[in-house]
C-alpha cells in the first residue's frame, strides 16, 4: 500500500491519535486523569473482548486478573522495593498462572462452568483482600497507598498510558487477524466443527484466556501505577461489571468498540453521576436499549456511517 492510500485508510485513526497526543497541552489535570483512566480501562476492555467477543467465553470474574496485576505490582513495590517495571514479569506470570489453573479446571466442560467458577472466585479473591488475616499485607478495605512514582510528571504518565493502550490495541489486532484469531472465531461459532477439522478446542480456549488474563493484569498494574494506590474494589464485582458494560455497550468482537465503551462508561461515571442522582437508572436504560436494538454495540453506528461515506466517495 502506498503512503497516500495508507494515510487515507487510517485518516480518522491518525487524527484521533494526534488529538490525544496534543490533549495534555491544553487540558486540565482532571481531564488528564479521566483520559488516563479511559486508556487503562480501554486495555482492560480489549482483554475482555478477546475472551467474550472473539472466543465466546463469558467471565464473571475478570477483575480477578485486574486486581491481581494491581496488587502484585503494589506489594512488590511497597514491601520489596521493586521498581514498577521489574514487577511486570511477575504480573505476567501470576496472571497467566491463574488463567491456566481456572481454565484447566473448567474449560474442558461447557463454558457455563467457567462463568460460574469465575463469579465465585472473584468473590473469594475480594474476601481474601478485605479479610482481617491479610490486613497487614493488603491494607484491607483501605488498600495500599504511596506507591513510588513511575515517571516524573503527570504528562509523562499520560503518554505512558496512551502508549500502553496503543500497544495493547495493535497487539490484540495482530492476534485477532492471525491464524490463532481465526481459529478462536471458528471455535466461538461452532466448537464441534472446529474439533472435527482437528483443533484441540481446550488448548485454544486456554491460550485465549491466558492472553486475556495477562492483558487484564497489566491494565491493573498500570492502574495501580497511575493512581499510586490500590483498592480491593479493583478485584471486586463492580470492576467486573464495568468491563462487561464497556465491552457490550461499545460493541464486542470489534476491539475498537470496547475502547469506545470504556470512554463512555468512565465519562458517564465522572460527569453524569455529579449532575443526576438517577444516572445509574438512565445508564441501565441505555444499556438495555443497546442490547435490544444495537447488538453490535455503539461502534456499529460509526461503522455504518463510515460505510455510507466511503461508498459515496468512491462513486
Amino acid at each position: 500500500m502506498s503512503i497516500n492510500r495508507y494515510l487515507q485508510k487510517y485518516r480518522s485513526a491518525l487524527i484521533l491519535i494526534i488529538i490525544l497526543i496534543l490533549l495534555p497541552l491544553f487540558s486540565s489535570e482532571y481531564i488528564k486523569v479521566v483520559a488516563m483512566q479511559i486508556f487503562i480501562f480501554g486495555v482492560f476492555a480489549i482483554s475482555y473482548d478477546i475472551l467474550l467477543g472473539y472466543t465466546g467465553i463469558a467471565s464473571f470474574g475478570h477483575a480477578i486478573f485486574f486486581g491481581t496485576g494491581a496488587y502484585v505490582s503494589a506489594l512488590m513495590m511497597l514491601k520489596a522495593g521493586f521498581s514498577f517495571w521489574a514487577t511486570i514479569p511477575f504480573v505476567v506470570v501470576s496472571c497467566a498462572g491463574i488463567g491456566l489453573v481456572i481454565g484447566l479446571l473448567t474449560l474442558r466442560f461447557a463454558t457455563i462452568y467457567f462463568t460460574i467458577v469465575t463469579l465465585a472466585l472473584g468473590q473469594f479473591c475480594y474476601f481474601l483482600l478485605t479479610n482481617a488475616l491479610t490486613y497487614q499485607y493488603t491494607g484491607g478495605d483501605d488498600g495500599l497507598h504511596g506507591l513510588p512514582m513511575v515517571l516524573q510528571t503527570k504528562n509523562q504518565m499520560y503518554y505512558l498510558a496512551l502508549a500502553f493502550l496503543l500497544a495493547a490495541f495493535f497487539i490484540a489486532k495482530k492476534i485477532i487477524s492471525s491464524p490463532l484469531g481465526k481459529t478462536l472465531v471458528a471455535i466461538r461459532e461452532n466448537e464441534f466443527r472446529a474439533k472435527m477439522i482437528g483443533y484441540n478446542v481446550l488448548n485454544y480456549r486456554l491460550i485465549a484466556l491466558v492472553i486475556s488474563g495477562i492483558m487484564a493484569g497489566l491494565a491493573g498494574s498500570f492502574n495501580a501505577a497511575m493512581l499510586r494506590s490500590v483498592f480491593p474494589g479493583f478485584m471486586g464485582a463492580s470492576t467486573t461489571i464495568d468491563v462487561i458494560l464497556m465491552t457490550i455497550l461499545g460493541g464486542m468482537g470489534s476491539l475498537l468498540g470496547p475502547v469506545a465503551g470504556a470512554a463512555l462508561v468512565i465519562i458517564c461515571q465522572q460527569y453524569l453521576s455529579s449532575y443526576f442522582e438517577w444516572w445509574l437508572l438512565i445508564f441501565g436504560v441505555i444499556f438495555v436499549l443497546v442490547v435490544l436494538f444495537l447488538p453490535q454495540g455503539l461502534i456499529s453506528i460509526v461503522y455504518r456511517f463510515r460505510k455510507k461515506n466511503t461508498s459515496g466517495g468512491l462513486n
Binding site: 481459529t183 472465531v185 461459532e189 461452532n190 466443527r193 474439533k195 472435527m196 482437528g198 483443533y199 484441540n200
Partner: protein, 233 residues
C-alpha cells in the same frame, strides 16, 4: 484391503441407545454408500467414527489400527475428513479462510490442492473473498466439501451432501463426487438412491442402529425387493 472396520459398536446419546452393535467394513479406494431411513443412525455412525459421539463399546479400526479411544480432535490427523450434514461452513470466515483453517500441515492450501478443488468446483474461483454467511445453500455445500479436500486425506466421510439442494446442484455434486472418488476412499451417506446408485461401488443399509445388509451396489440395483424392503423405493 479394508480402510475402515467397525466391530460391534454401541453408541449412546443423551442416555438413548442409538447404535446397537454396528458392524461394517469399507474397502480402500472404493466409494461405499451408507443408506437407510431417517433416524436409522447413519449420522451417528459417522460421528462415532470421528469421535464426536464416542462409542461406549466395540472397536473401530482405521488401516488396521484401533482408533475408538482417540480424542475427537486427534482423528482428523490420521487422514480422515468429515463433511457433516447441513452445509457446515464458518459463517464469519471468508471462503479462503474456511479452507485455510482446515489445513493441517503448513500455513496455506498447497497450490496443487487449490487447483484440484477449483477443477472439481469451478464456481469456487469467484467465491474466495466471500464470507461464509453470504453464500447460497449450494455454494455452502461446495465449500464444505472443498474444505475436506485441502489435506489429501485417505478417507472422506460425507453426510447427505445433496439434502435440500436444487436438482441442478445435485447433478453438479454428483459429478464432483465422481471426480473426487478417483483419488480417495469415500463413505457417503445418502437418502437419494438414484443419486447414490450411480456413483457407488459398495453399499451398506442401516436400520434401527444396525447394519442389516451390505454388498456390491450392483446387487442392490438388481434387487427390487431389497430396495423396497429397506429403502421404501
Amino acid at each position: 484391503m479394508n480402510i475402515l472396520e467397525m466391530h460391534n459398536i454401541h453408541t449412546y446419546m443423551a442416555g438413548f441407545h442409538i447404535l446397537e452393535g454396528v458392524n461394517l467394513t469399507a474397502e480402500h479406494g472404493k466409494l461405499t454408500i451408507l443408506l437407510g431411513r431417517n433416524g436409522s443412525g447413519k449420522t451417528t455412525t459417522i460421528k462415532t467414527i470421528m469421535g464426536l459421539t464416542p462409542a461406549r463399546s466395540g472397536e473401530i479400526l482405521f488401516q488396521g489400527r484401533p482408533i475408538q479411544k482417540l480424542h475427537d480432535f486427534e482423528i482428523p490427523w490420521l487422514g480422515i475428513s468429515l463433511v457433516p450434514e447441513g452445509r457446515d461452513v464458518f459463517s464469519q470466515l471468508t471462503v479462503e479462510e474456511n479452507l485455510l483453517i482446515a489445513v493441517r500441515k503448513g500455513k496455506k492450501v498447497p497450490k496443487q490442492r487449490l487447483d484440484y478443488i477449483v477443477d472439481i468446483f469451478p464456481p469456487m474461483k469467484n467465491l474466495f473473498k466471500k464470507k461464509g454467511r453470504n453464500l447460497s445453500g449450494g455454494e455452502k455445500q461446495m465449500v464444505a466439501v472443498a474444505r475436506a479436500l485441502v489435506n489429501e486425506d485417505k478417507l472422506l466421510l460425507i453426510d447427505e451432501p445433496t439434502k435440500g439442494l436444487a436438482p441442478i446442484m445435485v447433478e453438479s455434486m454428483r459429478l464432483a463426487l465422481a471426480e473426487i472418488k478417483k483419488n480417495a476412499t469415500i463413505i457417503l451417506v445418502e437418502q437419494n438412491f438414484e443419486f447414490a446408485g450411480s456413483i457407488a461401488d459398495d453399499f451398506l443399509i442401516m436400520e434401527h442402529g444396525k447394519i442389516v445388509c451390505s454388498g456390491e451396489i450392483g446387487d442392490l440395483i438388481n434387487n427390487r425387493e431389497m430396495q423396497h424392503m429397506y429403502l421404501g423405493v
